[in-house]
């Protein structure tokens, strides 16, 4: 079985493009990973997710451990087979979602005890159990179990949390062991404190991982603060390993983060917003529920080649959204994922060609132009 490896083919400023090779296929970077929380990218068939250009999906350990259960998925042949996706899967550790979704949690040095938001049943997550679950699922890229404090938080709280996460990172590394072809990523914490981020990066690098995530951002701090942190945080991490910004983001978040040296992203935005009638386009976000679309025979974006734009009018998308038809979620999710992958391809091409600044300027100019009516 081939090993997990990362190759940088070109750089432009701090931005990099290249690919991650895994036994289940390559991941072109910068990469956007659609979120398949409960073993499905909501409202999409996996072959259609692939058709948008996705090389890798994200699965959520927290959701999958509760339903259908990691042991069950393992008995059924693993998550890839279960959900009919044979390319790479990254799983998060469950840490973030335990904090945001579960009830009555109790945290200790050992781990987190919590009650399922689905049925109230009691569960326990620790670095060791998270590694075990991610192995049972068959994840290709496993994330360390960490604590992600909500921002704003005071410096002592962030420091204490970061130090706990670094101890959990070592335990994750020890529990993961040696699994050729599978990768373990460390997660940098430290909030918006540059020196804490540096200490976290040093601790992770000393342990040694196949890739490094910038964690603890996109939790309410705003884009300016996030970019401020990304001006230094990626540089603190090893340059020869993939850098993954967890839970990000809006298209302009992604563009700014790529400029700052990030290689991987995941976010529910394209799928979630598609289910509420929000289309992500080259011209910004379009609310298809707006009455001005009701009689509009034009496609959402005449230059987009996705099925929603190729085969339907804005009037149709408006109608099925208003009527709460499932096809509205199907078509807008497909469009949004298509747009995100097209954006990533544009970023990769621009970095390869050494004209990322021009690409980014055009990206912002189109969005400033904004008004879809003027197309």
């Amino acid at each position: 079985m081939s090993r997990f490896s990362f190759t940088i083919a070109a750089t432009d400023g701090k931005a990099r493009t290249g690919q991650i090779d895994t036994p289940r296929g390559e991941i072109r970077t910068p990469a956007f990973m659609p979120v398949g929380t409960a073993a499905t990218v909501k409202a999409m068939l996996p072959e259609n997710v692939r058709a948008t250009g996705a090389d890798i999906l994200l699965g959520n350990t927290y959701h999958l451990m509760l339903r259908p259960g990691a042991e069950r998925v393992a008995n059924l042949g693993g998550l890839h087979k279960f959900m009919n996706w044979d390319r790479p899967i990254l799983t998060d550790s469950g840490g973030f979602q335990v904090m945001s979704l579960a009830d009555l949690r109790k945290m200790s040095e050992e781990g987190v005890r919590f009650k399922s938001h689905i049925d109230g049943s009691e569960h326990f997550l620790s670095p060791e159990r998270s590694m075990e679950i991610q192995k049972l699922l068959g994840s290709d890229i496993v994330m360390c179990f960490d604590e992600c404090p909500a921002l704003p938080a005071d410096r002592p709280a962030i420091e204490k949390s970061m130090e706990l996460s670094m101890r959990w990172a070592q335990r994750s590394r020890d529990a993961f062991g040696d699994r050729p072809g599978h990768a373990l990523f460390g997660i940098q914490q430290g909030g918006l404190e540059q020196d804490l981020r540096a200490r976290s990066a040093e601790a992770l690098t000393a342990i040694g991982f196949d890739g490094y995530a910038v964690g603890g951002l996109a939790v309410g701090e705003g884009q300016d603060a996030m970019f401020g942190c990304l001006d230094y945080a990626p540089d603190q991490l090893p340059a020869d390993k993939p850098r993954y910004l967890m839970g990000v983001g809006k298209p302009d978040d992604i563009v700014g983060a790529v400029q700052r040296g990030i290689d991987m992203f995941d976010c529910v935005l394209p799928s979630r917003s598609g289910r509420t009638g929000q289309a992500q386009t080259r011209f910004g976000q379009v609310n298809i529920r707006n009455a001005r679309h009701a009689d509009d025979p034009r496609p959402l974006d005449p230059e987009c080649t996705c099925p929603a734009c190729s085969n339907y009018s804005r009037a149709y998308l408006h109608h099925v959204n208003k009527a709460q038809e499932i096809i509205a979620s199907m078509l807008l999710t497909w469009h949004n994922l298509h747009y995100y992958q097209e954006l990533m391809q544009g970023l990769r091409d621009a970095i390869s060609a050494g004209n990322l600044d021009d690409f980014v300027a055009a990206f912002h100019a189109r969005r400033a132009d904004g008004d879809m009516e003027r197309l």
Copy 2:
């Protein structure tokens, strides 16, 4: 533009197989028409509905007139373009659904005044307005505006209602006019009264239609009573025109009706039941929500070639249904529509081969066998 025509290629007992030719393509009979109520077959893309083998869809005049509105659809180029389905569409008249869905209706000789179940707005339907709406939608097969009384009803009520429907049939015919390539179907009424059915058939035949529906069945009378009526009702209608049994039905309803000379069917069952976890299979209905499927690695039906059966386990279908994921509706609807079309193809082939009795015996034997666990 070619005309609408019906050709019977073979018969077996009372059963017939052949095709309806329309400018938008052929309809192989016996035909099952998936229901696309609000300009979408719920949870399906139209190209995938076509891939199941559907030659024609049904659209609901009542729903479409309320939202998005018939004039709007016409301005957008008609229903085919609006919903991305370029093959034939049959629209019902709105009469049945005004009775079952709308509020505060007032019926007169002229027509029906009612309030929308969506927003309470007031509307009026008559034979003339129904013809106008169906023309605005661009329907290929237009249904007469009729009244469909709920059963059981007493004979005087059924007789009075049938006579009204026959006067409305004449007004529908007059309003429809001459539209080459488009068909108008009459609807036989008369409840379970053989002589009233005969009088209705005579009245319709005297007016002259391109096809004839058996209306007023599948409204709670039960299969025995329905089959009892179908033992004579189709025979009362012209043999050289398509016969359409409206709103039917379960697979065994369809098989029994084909044996009695019916050529066309529509029903929400395969799509609606798919959205509630009910799979229609060669072995009967399977409730994928049942806990016995939770760990089952086998496909729903190993002989079925639909995506749900080709790519997923019963355990996966169970999981996504329990988790209320949209993909559960997508996959089970696809399976159910695939099964229905496979059943229709089986019926057509059996009639062509002259072995319908054998086909029907095997159909019932498999369902009596029943237990999917024994596969």
